[in-house]
Symmetry: C2
Subunit: 411 residues, 2 copies
Amino acid sequence: MPVYRNVSEVPDPVDLAIVIVAAPGVPEVLSKIGERGVRHAIIESAGFAETGEQGKALQAETKRVLEQYGIRALGPNCVGVVNTDNGLSTTDILDEALIPGNTAIIAQSGVFGNILLDKLHLQKLYISKAVTLGNRIDVDESEILDYLHHDPLTRVIMMYLEGAANGRLLTQTLSRVSRDKPVLVLKSGRTGQGIAATASHTGSLSGEDYLYDGMVAQTGVTRAKTLNELVEFTRVFSSQPLPSGPNLGIVTGSGSMGALATDAAVIAGLEVPPLSTSVVQEIQKNAPGWMNIKNPLDIGPSGLFEEALRAMAQDPTYDMVLAIFTIPHAILLNLKALGVDIAQRFGEIKNLRKLAPGKPLVVCVVGHDDFVALAAELAGPDIPVLTSPEMAAEALAALWRYRQWKERSTS
Amino acid sequence: MPVYRNVSEVPDPVDLAIVIVAAPGVPEVLSKIGERGVRHAIIESAGFAETGEQGKALQAETKRVLEQYGIRALGPNCVGVVNTDNGLSTTDILDEALIPGNTAIIAQSGVFGNILLDKLHLQKLYISKAVTLGNRIDVDESEILDYLHHDPLTRVIMMYLEGAANGRLLTQTLSRVSRDKPVLVLKSGRTGQGIAATASHTGSLSGEDYLYDGMVAQTGVTRAKTLNELVEFTRVFSSQPLPSGPNLGIVTGSGSMGALATDAAVIAGLEVPPLSTSVVQEIQKNAPGWMNIKNPLDIGPSGLFEEALRAMAQDPTYDMVLAIFTIPHAILLNLKALGVDIAQRFGEIKNLRKLAPGKPLVVCVVGHDDFVALAAELAGPDIPVLTSPEMAAEALAALWRYRQWKERSTS
């Protein structure tokens, strides 16, 4: 690619300037960009409001230059944007992170956005756009939310926030966006010391945490308690339909995992109702004597995974189904050595997605890493495989809460 | 191995009988075992009290036979024991699960124990003994706890419980054991529907959940909220010393991860105090201008990981240190391609364990799976690498709570 000494030398057209010079040089560089007639910039440099008084003054000076030339800017202290539709990335990312998907990321922190992109594709969560905001000298989260609201390639929005640029505007925007697309938010700065940490990170005022809880309740946003929860919930939101009721059916290879998932589901607001008589009869046909035909349905080593899952997915009693796969790995390896087709043992899981189009389906696997990978293969692209029974149940509960909010807010 | 048609034909000595015949045949087989003079049995067969009235009667009949011959038995509805010291396993497990370690598992459920053994070795958590209890017709969790209390190869005990066989006895036993060895408990049957699930699983009466919360508070037990928490906390308990105070130092490559860990630590009862002047001066020597020298210490892309960690680990202000490693994976791959030694970039992390022998050290990595594996290599066998900043902070807080309980209970 040709490289130029000065922005004035770059030939037309220039859509975007990416600024990565050391912080003190940023206002001058932006002036040159403005003179050149470029009206969009991403300022990646750090060393502004997040570093104290001197940095705040530098940020004010930078803002003045932006306003003088009418430049719209992201940053400073960010890594810009990723757009998988046209393959644009303003930061150095893996090729796999550019596989297009339906989920948008808004991250206040650059590194946060970057490392999410490193791991999400490994969990089959693919991205439409990713935007890192940094110190928000100009463009803020509400403006990006509005953009993603109207982006046809984005179905779900996940967001990491340290503090709102404008809390009232954010609340209004989230209420509007949530009616059409689920928004999942992880917010730091929940404690005094956490607030201090965010202030020195992106120069944010985090605000009182209870205000955010209120905002979440009003706007239909799903608030994640942890980073893992943000990721796992988003995987379920981006791949599953919304449930039409609170009733969860659980098929499990381990009674203890079934009990843990049941507890988590009930605590999170779901119901785990008994099996209908017809399903009991259906499963009883092939079930061994020791099997308790109940919900959660512990199939133990009966090998009846597919039959049980199919029966539950088709039973109108259930609005969603959780399948917990477990098998002692030594037994799996023995079966493999004997030439048994492992896929057959668990059944054509990926076909269930079509069989019960209106019901969220989630697989949970607890065990050896190789078995987790195998289950991900069996489940295909449309059924997420989680590794925590409690998280799987809580993700389904979040889906149901969002569905209820959506109904209330649009009726 | 020679195989016999009848237990009476097996030559001396017989230390243990493992019973895996279908449930209705168990009493008769146990009679023969008793006649043969064998006094220890593991009954793995399922189909007893967990299946209803008929199964309850069968379990009572089985108990009568055990008492008649004075046979001590584990089970039924379990997979028995693993002893890594002598390589005994009464269930089919991977060879890697037999690598000896300092952590004992007590699991009410057989499958639960089995699948934990499949995954723990992948996280460098190695086992001394594992015991699955099943329906506890004879030996119960309190007896096993007493045994492990005196087992010199066991330092930490992790436990999955659906309900206590004898709540009063369990409380007394836990109080006694906890004074010497930390016990971590995951309990299911927290909700009405979860209780129903455990009843049909191991025939347990789970009891009211608040009673268990009381028991936990009294006995110094660490109660895990989820299966992942049980595993991650145990990894930290089994490898780290107890902290002598609540003060946590955090070094991070990402400000957002630092803020998330700070929030979680403070909510869980830790302090995140400022850096001492001497540490600030020490780090300032090589730090770039944009770096905020604070706690949590966000070193950004400065490469000062080792210097910062070393300074914090040696500063008496801090009772424990959390290191959050992040690096965009594309940059890691670029550095590798340029021949940069990645280990050097993060420093001799494994040496820190010796440098600060009295302080818990935990590494957290968020990013690509390959980077997690690399960090695990750099951290060595004595520093656990977690993948959730919140979980890492909460595990350290649990360590501090246990230390406080221990001091109160022994003073």
